[in-house]
């Protein structure tokens, strides 16, 4: 099948694009459950430094000791770690050429369009399949500038980078942060380590794609990005999984260090299958005059807890968060963001959209904390929710904590539905009702999709189209 044909399939929204599975024959799969022996086995397999094993074991104790808050969000009572395998690995080594990737895995990523995107518009690509990275590559010209884009495991085996990983790993999201952060640190595997030297601007984005193929398994990748002063990086993260009727778990962690005067754009489309518990933690700390931009699309998963956090430590730093969440049947997505403004003259802007249909539940949850030192801080939060039927639900729970008299905070939120007048108008121009509603929803999502790279914007629009199919009648 030609490359052109494959892209056409994406544009036409082939449901098999995400919901195909590959057999696990020959894969290494650890027993379900969570024990010190499993944690030690993961660590031993990766031949890690002693400090990492100690960190894992301490995190495991924290996980077992820590209770979930009784008053928190959607229920995760269907998640039973005794029936989740925390480590599943295909029998392959990490490759630098797609030709060296096993055929079934290569086919998976071909169908997701990853190699094509790499050829066309990326500075580097990492592809994780279940618990391990199977492909990692970066353009030579980018590498020559001193940019490091590798796995955490490889960085830990490099005498130059092991101390750097040791210095940063687990400091922004400590294992004690919450129960699933502790779980992550106990069994993490895969992910990316990115280091951009001072003053370097990457002409193209780096992209990591995470695919969880195995049923009843967890994916716990760790992303650690350090953008040195004055550097500029766009990092893209994509995630997908086929649908099963048993619970899968994603509990990744993303730690982003954006130094003085640097800029980082972090774009994500999370398209997990609807049996996935997506309990992911993302956090950035930004220095003086630095800029952090989040672009986030959440489409899949059964339950999501996802609140990217920005700690604005430096004066004059800025943060933008643009997000969209689409909750359909059987989905309960609790998403939003947190902004902690500690520097003077900092600015933050949060703009989110959410769409609920077919009984889907959306909760937008945010917090803006303006500390005493944040003189003249400015923050605006906007949240718009669209209800597409009367069996769905949409809640907004934004919290603000202002402790500086010179700060200015503005907040607005609206919840409503597509007006009958709008649909009627579009139908009078020849659209079917379904087309009219899809058009309105696409327009609603447009401010977010235009912030995404083209490939992802297309994917997002296709996902909306896919979700809207059969929405009428």
């Amino acid at each position: 099948m030609s490359e052109e044909r494959k892209r056409t399939q994406v544009a036409d929204v082939d449901r098999s694009l995400y919901d195909f599975t590959k057999p696990e024959e020959g894969y290494e799969r650890y027993d379900d459950g969570l024990t010190p022996e499993i944690v030690r086995a993961i660590s031993e397999k990766k031949d890690e430094p002693e400090w990492m094993l100690e960190m894992r074991l301490a995190a495991l104790e924290t996980y077992h000791a820590r209770e979930m808050a009784p008053n928190w969000g959607p229920s995760i009572s269907g998640l039973d770690l005794d029936h989740i395998s925390t480590y599943v690995s295909p029998k392959t080594k990490q490759a630098k050429s797609w030709d060296d990737v096993p055929e079934d895995i290569k086919d998976t990523f071909e169908r997701l369009g990853i190699p094509e995107a790499e050829r066309e518009s990326l500075a580097g690509v990492g592809a994780q399949y279940d618990s391990e990275i199977v492909y990692h590559n970066m353009r030579e010209d980018v590498a020559k500038q001193g940019v490091i884009y590798t796995t955490i495991e490889d960085a830990l085996h490099d005498p130059q980078w092991e101390p750097v990983v040791h210095q940063y790993f687990g400091t922004l999201i400590p294992p004690t942060d919450h129960k699933f952060a502790a779980l992550h640190y106990a069994v993490w595997s895969g992910g990316s380590f990115v280091y951009v030297p001072a003053g370097v601007t990457l002409p193209y984005p780096l992209q990591s794609y995470f695919r969880l193929n195995a049923a009843g398994a967890g994916q716990f990748e760790h992303t650690l990005i350090i953008v040195e002063p004055g550097a500029d990086l766009h990092f893209i993260e994509g995630c997908s999984a086929p649908k099963y009727y048993e619970a899968n778990l994603h509990a990744g962690a993303v730690e982003l260090f954006v130094k003085d005067g640097a800029r980082l754009r972090y774009s994500t489309i999370e398209n997990w299958s609807k049996n996935m518990y997506n309990l992911n933690t993302k956090r950035a700390t930004i220095g003086a005059d630095a800029k952090m931009e989040w672009v986030s699309g959440s489409f899949g998963s059964h339950v999501s807890y996802l609140y990217p956090t920005t700690v604005m430590a430096g004066d004059r730093s800025s943060c933008e968060f643009t997000g969209i969440t689409f909750a359909g049947a059987t989905q309960d997505l609790d998403t939003g963001c947190k902004v902690i403004m500690n520097g003077a003259d900092t600015t933050a802007s949060v703009s989110t959209k959410s769409i609920s249909k077919d009984g889907g539940v959306n909760t937008f949850r945010s917090s803006v904390v303006i500390g005493r030192r944040a003189d003249r801080a400015r923050c605006s939060v906007s949240c718009q929710s669209l209800m597409l039927d009367d069996i769905s639900r949409s809640d907004t729970i934004p919290a603000m904590d202002v402790r500086n008299a010179t700060a200015q905070v503005g907040h607005e939120a609206t919840i409503g539905r597509i007006s009958d007048d709008t649909v009627l108008y579009l139908m009078s121009r020849g659209c079917s009702e379904e087309e009219a509603r899809t058009l309105v929803v696409n327009g609603f999502a447009n401010p977010v999709s235009k912030e995404l790279p083209m490939e992802y914007a297309v994917e997002m629009n296709n996902l909306i189209k896919l979700e809207m199919e059969g929405a009428i009648g």
Partner: protein, 364 residues
């Protein structure tokens, strides 16, 4: 409710109990923000074996804003609950006044029959020469179809006083309630209001103005549940915070499944004038219906440089300008005071904050 000390520490000191999870919003956020609720320590003056007059049982179904712990506590402390019924189709000329001094606790139930109209005033202005004390009011209102209720809440206690005010209202078809809250000082002021718009086309309009200074703790939790079709809620908050005041405002508009055509709007403006002020806001919209509209907006900040420049050109210093904003709260409160008890509360609150000389200015 946690019993902290049931035995009196001294012969004349009342034992205390701790009320946990007071003013809880229906939807919670991160516990580490410490904005989900408040914990209060209150006196337990009741004695085993005391029997107090209670309200008719239909009031038991009325949800109150501060939650069941406060309801239970007030019912155990208030000597004889007061029950008032406003007959069908009548308009009660004299307001129902609940006036509270220092350490006083009152439970009140008002049944407003179909098509009746009433004004209710709660005026809490406890003074105890700087000594600690706790006053509390539990007010439950049932507004039947087409009833009109005008509720005024005035709080202006001295810095040693703690005041709890829990209100629950249910509205029948076409009932309308307007609520006017003026929170003008106290050591700790905790206020909760729950309004159940159960009947179709029922409506609540709530305006809250507050001024908190010194080390005052102001904690507000207001919940409007819109169950009936074409119900409407309009909530507006406007406040001034000075010195090291701590304010938490939780508002919830709950658009319940089946409330087709409902609309809920909430807006808040906060003027922060003190370097040590803590201002927390949790404006929540819960939406379980598509044919509804819910909106909220908040603006938090200080007097803008442009406003200050304009006022300076009129001869007002920054301090004068900021005082003007605070004073406006009291003037508005006085202007709308429906009875002497409310007026007295405003004047006392103003005097406590700015000295007795301003009393004459505000004596309308």
């Amino acid at each position: 409710m946690v019993e902290k000390n049931l035995a009196p520490a001294a012969a004349d000191a009342a034992p205390e109990i701790t009320l946990e999870r007071v003013n809880v919003a229906p939807a919670q956020t991160w516990n580490r923000l410490r904005t989900n609720d408040i914990t209060l320590t209150v006196p337990a003056r009741g004695r085993a074996g005391d029997v107090y007059f209670s309200l008719p049982r239909l009031f038991e179904g009325v949800e109150c804003g501060m939650g069941p712990a406060v309801t239970d506590w007030v019912e155990s402390q208030a000597k004889d609950a007061r029950y008032v019924e406003v007959p069908r189709g009548t308009r009660r000329e004299e307001p129902i006044v609940v006036a509270l001094g220092a350490d006083e606790v009152a439970g009140t139930g008002v049944l407003v029959r179909e098509g009746a109209e009433v004004t209710i005033v709660v005026a809490a202005g406890g003074e105890k020469d700087g000594e600690a004390g706790t006053s509390a009011s539990l007010l439950r209102v049932i507004a039947e179809a087409g009833a009109r209720v005008h509720l005024y809440e005035y709080v202006g206690a001295d810095a040693g006083q703690q005041h709890l005010e829990s209100v629950g209202i249910t509205c029948g078809r076409d009932a309308r309630v307007d609520v006017h809250q003026y929170l003008l000082g106290g050591g700790t002021v905790a206020l909760g209001l729950a309004c159940d718009l159960a009947g179709d086309r029922s409506r609540v309009d709530l305006g809250c103005r507050y001024h908190a200074g010194g080390t005052e703790v102001l904690d507000i939790n207001e919940v409007v549940r819109q169950r009936g079709r074409s119900t409407r809620s309009e909530l507006a908050y406007n406040g001034v915070l000075e010195d090291a005041a701590k304010k938490s405002l939780r508002t919830t508009i709950d658009l319940v499944h089946g409330a087709k055509g409902a609309q809920g709007n909430e807006a808040e403006t906060v003027l922060v004038l003190g370097d040590d002020v803590v201002n927390k806001t949790l404006p929540t919209i819960l939406c379980d219906e598509d044919d509804v509209a819910g909106n909220h907006g908040a603006t938090i900040g200080s007097v803008s440089p442009e406003q200050l420049a304009f006022l300076a050109s009129r001869g007002l210093s920054r301090a004068d300008a900021e005082a003007l904003f605070a004073r406006a709260v009291y003037e508005d409160a006085l202007m709308h005071a429906p009875c002497d008890e409310a007026r007295a509360t405003v004047q006392r609150g103003q005097a406590l904050l700015h000295g007795a000389s301003t009393l004459e200015d505000l004596a309308w």
